[in-house]
Amino acid sequence: MLDEPTAVLTPQEADSLFAALRLLAASGLAVLFISHKLPEVLALSHRIVVLRGGRKVADRPALGADRHSIATLMVGREVEVERPAPPQPGPPVLALSGLHAGAGRDQLRDIDLVVRAGEIVGIAGVSGNGQQTLAALVAGLERPTTGRFDVLGAPGGTTPSDMVKRGVGRLSEDRHRDGMVGEMSVAENLVMERRRDSAFNRAGFQRGAAMQEAARQAIHAFDVRCPGPDSTLRLLSGGNIQKLLLARALAGNPRLILANQPTRGLDIGATEQVHGRLRQAAAKGAAVLLISEDLDELFALSHRIAVMHAGLMTPAVDAARLDVSAIGLAMAGQASPRFAPDREVAA
């Protein structure tokens, strides 16, 4: 029995795992493979079982099943076909050039990257190849050692509140560790970045009613399942916490959105909602930097994709030019002609 065994594998490594599993199954071993990655389930299994809300909702042969039908069974309703709309690339919002930052295993080396208004740029890579430092930089927790780091044409902020003021909405990688305070209420967590704004603060005193109202609106708009603004955050499910984080990050209509592993561990329904919100924000002109280990997610959302390996980053190229194997090779550190820089030129 294997539970999400491919979570931190490159596609090539996953393929060799699948080959081994097929061999084991052929020699008479029963294999139970648990995954939320539909292509893997479809590629590997003989029989597919779908669980939803603790119930078995389907048990059918893999032959004849497709992604769409399985996804529909998992959500319990029709799933929108995921295809990023063609971008209307605007002016550069995030611009990194010759950038070095961090130290040790997770450092950034000579990074060039431009994210324009209205586009979603995906960063692929096995965790621990510099993504953490990249995210910390954009979140305002890390400074570059050398190189240029510009947000909206001016040098980027050096603290989290700087970045928030500059119009950067940030989703932390680990929603429990860096996202929210479990012992505080939904409303208190929701206004954390804007706690000193005049909307929520009068002469050092918190405006309780305004906080409640903001929380009620966010709970409604983002379909957060919780008893109310005063519920203790720790009692919410991961998906609902992520929806609140998203509500907080999007609250000021940010110009740049850092989405670091935005749907890790979420069910398909919540994932779909997070994706919808990110697409919507991009359509309204925000630049989105999407860091993800989930290739399906990267392909579903990104207009352009870059791959990180050992602190280096490939040029970000049109997602339509890429497939899983090209990304997989780049994740393992092998050059691929598909990542030759295209018309996109660093600003």
Partner: protein
């Protein structure tokens, strides 16, 4: 099988009843131990209650003892809420008392309406300053504040002893290691004729209300709670964690310093090196009994003070050691911790499948 389920919210009734039952359970089990050792239990219990609350004198004595405990309890509650483990309230209390004595023994003479606030501010500032070093070491160099604050207690106490034997020794004190008395203008007024209860209790109650409002209504208190709840998430959301810890430390130290002011200017009148029988450490117990709630610190401090005052009466009459009070307080702490299980979780009987 019994299963514990986290509660979404705790009914207010439970929040009041559980600590009261815990205190009663602690008294009950302490008396059980007394009974096992062959002492006259019923009489002991009677004397304990009588000594703590049986007369105007008993009540004022209990409140007098509770005054510094409220302040050191608040000092611990504020710091612990931000996960700043200040074990140094004892030293901060002495620092506050020393500063109060330094400005209050004749260097400056002002009318009482100015003199008392001046002494309070001096003591609070000294207490705050005593915690500033440890918190800066923690914020900048990640030095463990449990060690620094604890060890600083002994350094401050030795410093006080040095001052009492040297520069601040009372020339009229017949050679005793004590300071000159606080001038009349600086002495906290007595509240009940013939009794020792003084205006320190008013300062302590006001402090409790102030801390409550600060923690629940202000952005500063919100930031302290956020840093205590999850420092990493607070930093990500833009709360300056180090600055918040420093603010928390200054408040916590100031409260402990005020306890020293209250003892020296309200009760003793001059400073000696046995001003506090461990009020700084007992404050930690008070804060834990109160579940770090600044309003609950008041009844918790009165309970602990009552046990100590009552145990004195009991031990004088029956010859039972007044360490009995420590036993009751320790049991109360255990009972409250067990009791908090019932406020945080709901018990459900589950039939084995």
């Amino acid at each position: 099988m019994i299963r514990f389920e986290p509660r979404a919210s705790t009914p207010l009734v439970l929040l009041v009843i559980v600590p009261v039952l815990s205190a009663l359970a602690a008294l009950g089990s302490a008396l059980l131990i007394l009974a096992l050792s062959g002492a006259p239990t019923a009489r002991a219990a009677g004397l304990l209650v009588q000594g703590a609350a049986g007369s105007v004198f008993a009540i004022t004595e209990t409140l007098t003892r509770a005054t510094p405990l409220i302040l050191t309890g608040l000092a611990a509650a504020v710091a612990f809420r931000a996960k700043l483990w200040n074990i140094g309230a004892e030293g901060q209390l002495y620092a506050g008392a020393l500063a109060a004595t330094a400005v209050g023994t004749g260097i400056i003479t002002l009318p009482p309406l100015l003199m008392i606030p001046l002494i309070c501010i001096a003591g609070a500032a000294a207490g705050a300053l005593a915690l500033l070093g440890p918190v800066l070491l923690k914020a900048k160099l990640s030095v463990d504040e449990v060690v620094t604050t604890l060890l600083l207690n002994f350094i401050i106490l030795l410093f006080v002893q040095m001052m009492l034997e040297g520069p601040m020794k009372d020339p009229m004190g017949m050679g005793w290691p004590q300071t000159s008395p606080i001038i009349d203008e600086g002495v906290l007024p007595r509240l009940v004729a013939q009794m020792r209860l003084h205006a320190g209790i008013v300062i302590a109650l006001a402090a409790s209300l102030f801390v409550h409002v600060l923690m629940t209504r202000t952005v500063a208190g919100y930031e302290m709670r956020a840093v205590g709840g999850n420092a990493s998430a607070a930093r990500f959301a833009g709360i300056p964690v180090s600055a918040t810890l420093v603010k928390t430390a200054l408040l916590s130290g100031a409260l402990a310093g005020l306890a020293g002011v209250s003892e020296v200017a309200g009760l003793k009148g001059y400073l000696t090196s046995d001003l506090s029988p461990g009020f700084g450490y007992s404050g930690i117990v008070v804060a834990m009994l109160a579940a770090l709630n600044p309003l609950a610190v008041v009844p918790a401090a009165i309970f602990v003070a009552g046990v100590f005052v009552g145990a004195d009466t009991m031990s004088r009459t029956l010859g039972i050691s007044n360490y009995f009070a420590d036993l009751v307080v320790a049991l109360a702490l255990l009972c409250v911790l067990i009791g908090s299980l019932f406020t945080r979780y709901r018990l459900r009987l589950v039939r084995a499948a």
